[in-house]
Amino acid sequence: MKAADKVTGGAFLALGLALVASGLGLPAGVGGQPGAGFFPQAIGGLMAVLACGLLLKRGEDSADESFGISNAGQVAGTAALLLGYLLLWGTGFFVVRTAVFLALALRFLGQGWLPSAAYGVAMSSVVYLAFSIGLNVSLE
């Protein structure tokens, strides 16, 4: 069995069993009428059965199906930049923080400082005009 399938199957099995267990704690229903716990248990049970099927499935690992993240540094860096941008959401100065985020992200992905900064300012201004002024979405 493929390692990725093992991890996937195990994770889904755990989630399915957790759903069944948590569903038992929800109202079961009255007089044959299913309550709030009915569907979580049904979905959890189905998920657990399917996960067992995946865990028991036989298959050969192949190079193109192996679970590997190439260029992991850039992916992690991009994810970190995204997280930073998200954590700053709602702190005001939308145009400034968005322009800085875009410029940093582009620089990180190998673009020059000047075009990155220009792109950041232009895009953040366009988005601000379209959403905040055009559609009255409060971006601050």
Binding site: V7, T8, F12, M47, L50, V75, L82, W89, A105, Q111
Partner: protein, 502 residues
């Protein structure tokens, strides 16, 4: 009747009405092509503006938005693998691979042509078969709705090729996510972890943007230096050749029929219709292996079906006064404010108004066809933008689009979480389509199954006496077993690889 047709036509053949229609179609194209902005949002925002104009002018603008947004949702699905609307998920399955092969122009051209064909076909159904379609849709009770939702999810999981099990697991994960929030029947809070943001449940639009948009960006960043990500800068021709058009004809009209029928069913729309039509086209095609890898037939079927759902939804709305989807629910409100009550009496008393709507839909379809074909080449140039610029643009528009839905940062967190999950799922070869469909259809499935069980006093066997439900259940079983049997049969033929990128 001829007098009513002519009266309906003359009511819309005015510069003001056509102007409102053109504005509506253009705004709809903007709303549809920006992930996070939906046709529902566009119609809802602009409905108040129509109260100061005549019913024809107001309706022209609102119908224009509706007809413009749905085909435009296919544009980002094709160019950047981010469906602009939930109905265009299936469009990305063949549209995006075509763009990656340097045929973005053709994919956009087919999107425009098949969308217009789907809309026009469904309008014909509306004009001539409105009542039979609506009465078929009215036969749907809770059990049938449950069966329809189940069929939709299983079809999507079933087309996951060698990964049917993973497709089903993704579908159940979507259903599990749909459990978050208030129980649809008793309003009992479930899996909210004490956070009020979760009471409304997990919004599917941010999840969709994350799974398809952010995850795609992360995948491309990951494959950038691995030599796998090839920037598709070529655009190619826009119009299909005669032989290509001929192969797409059957899929387009079958898709339009499926889309109209599904769209006519209240609360079911282009999202389910396009999946069913795509799978139907794949089964009917001689070149099944091309589906999911850039098949023109697959693209035509899905585009046609998701647009035909408009005519289906309008049919139910006008004949019965029941909204076929969220947009038609808002349209009913707008009509009522203008003093027009949708329902059977509308066809008796205001037949000329019904024909006005028919002609407005026809003109809107032709307008969006023109915009789609003329705009295909300039739009496809987006692929020539350097990849990092495109990635940051997708992230920015996705983030702001997710936030704009409810003005809440929780939706942005949901989008980012879905993006990371989608990236890991892509790496683990877990199909994303069933997850989104499970999330969309989960509440419909649960509430209708529970309603059906209440009506049958908990007796499951009573449900099996309903022929439409039995047909859906049979379709569900077939859709799941067929790929497994095919995979078993083709185990000795390693060159026959099934579709796996849905």
């Amino acid at each position: 009747m001829t007098a009513d047709i002519l009266a309906g036509l003359s009511a819309v053949l005015s510069l003001q009405v056509l102007g409102f229609l053109a504005v509506g179609v253009s705004l709809g194209a903007v709303f549809g092509s920006l992930p996070g902005l939906t046709a529902t949002m566009g119609v809802a925002i602009l409905t108040p503006l129509t109260f100061w104009v005549s019913p024809e002018q107001g309706l022209a603008m609102l119908l224009g938005i509706y007809c413009g947004a749905i085909p435009a949702g296919g544009i980002p699905a094709i160019l950047i693998n981010v469906p602009g609307t939930p109905a265009s998920i299936a469009t990305s399955w063949d549209g995006y691979p075509l763009a990656r092969k340097g045929r973005a122009g053709l994919a956009l051209g087919v999107n425009a042509l098949a969308s217009a064909a789907g809309q026009l076909t469904s309008i014909l159904f509306l004009a001539f078969l409105a009542f039979p379609i609506a009465s078929f849709a009215l036969k749907f009770g809770p059990a049938e709705y449950f069966g329809l939702a189940l069929l939709g999810i299983s079809l999507m999981a079933g087309v996951s090729g060698r990964h049917v099990l993973k497709g089903l697991l993704a579908g159940t994960l979507g259903l599990a996510l749909a459990l978050v929030g208030l129980d649809p029947m008793t309003a009992y809070p479930r899996y909210t972890f004490g956070m009020s943001e979760f009471l409304d449940g997990v919004s599917f639009v941010p999840v969709m943007i994350g799974l398809f948009g952010l995850a795609e960006v992360l995948v491309q960043v990951s494959e950038r230096h691995a030599g796998k990500a090839s920037p598709p800068s070529a655009i190619g021709r826009v119009l299909p050749r005669t032989e290509e058009a001929r192969t797409m004809l059957g899929a387009t009209f079958a898709g339009a029929t499926v889309g109209t029928m599904v769209g006519a069913v209240p609360a079911a729309g282009g999202d389910i219709g396009s999946v069913i039509a795509w799978e139907q086209a794949r089964r009917a095609s001689k070149d099944k292996a091309a589906f999911g890898k850039g098949s023109l037939q697959g693209l035509a079927a899905s585009c046609s079906a998701c647009n035909a759902a408009i005519g289906g939804a309008m049919t139910t709305m006008l004949t019965l006064g029941i909204p076929g989807d969220a947009v038609s629910a808002i349209l009913i409100g707008a009509l009522l404010i203008h003093g027009i009550q949708p329902g059977p009496l509308l066809f008796e008393n205001r037949q000329e108004f019904v024909f006005s709507i028919v002609f407005l839909l026809v003109f809107a379809s032709l307008l969006i066809l023109g915009i789609g074909l003329l705009g295909a080449r300039p739009l496809a140039r987006i692929l020539r933008v350097p990849a990092p610029w495109l990635w940051t643009g997708i992230v920015l528009f996705g983030t702001v689009g997710a936030y704009a839905l409810n003005n809440t940062v929780a939706d942005v967190w949901a989008m980012y979480a879905a993006g990371v999950a989608g990236f890991l799922f892509r790496k683990a070869r877990i199909p994303l389509g069933p997850l989104v469909l499970g999330l969309i259809l989960g509440p419909m499935m649960e509430s209708n199954l529970r309603r059906a069980l209440i009506l049958s006093r908990g007796d499951w066997l009573v449900l099996l006496a309903r022929p439409i439900l039995v047909a859906f259940l049979a379709g569900t079983v077939l859709s799941l077993l067929w790929p497994l049997l095919r995979a078993h049969r083709s185990a000795s033929k390693p060159n026959q690889r099934a579709v796996s990128n849905v």
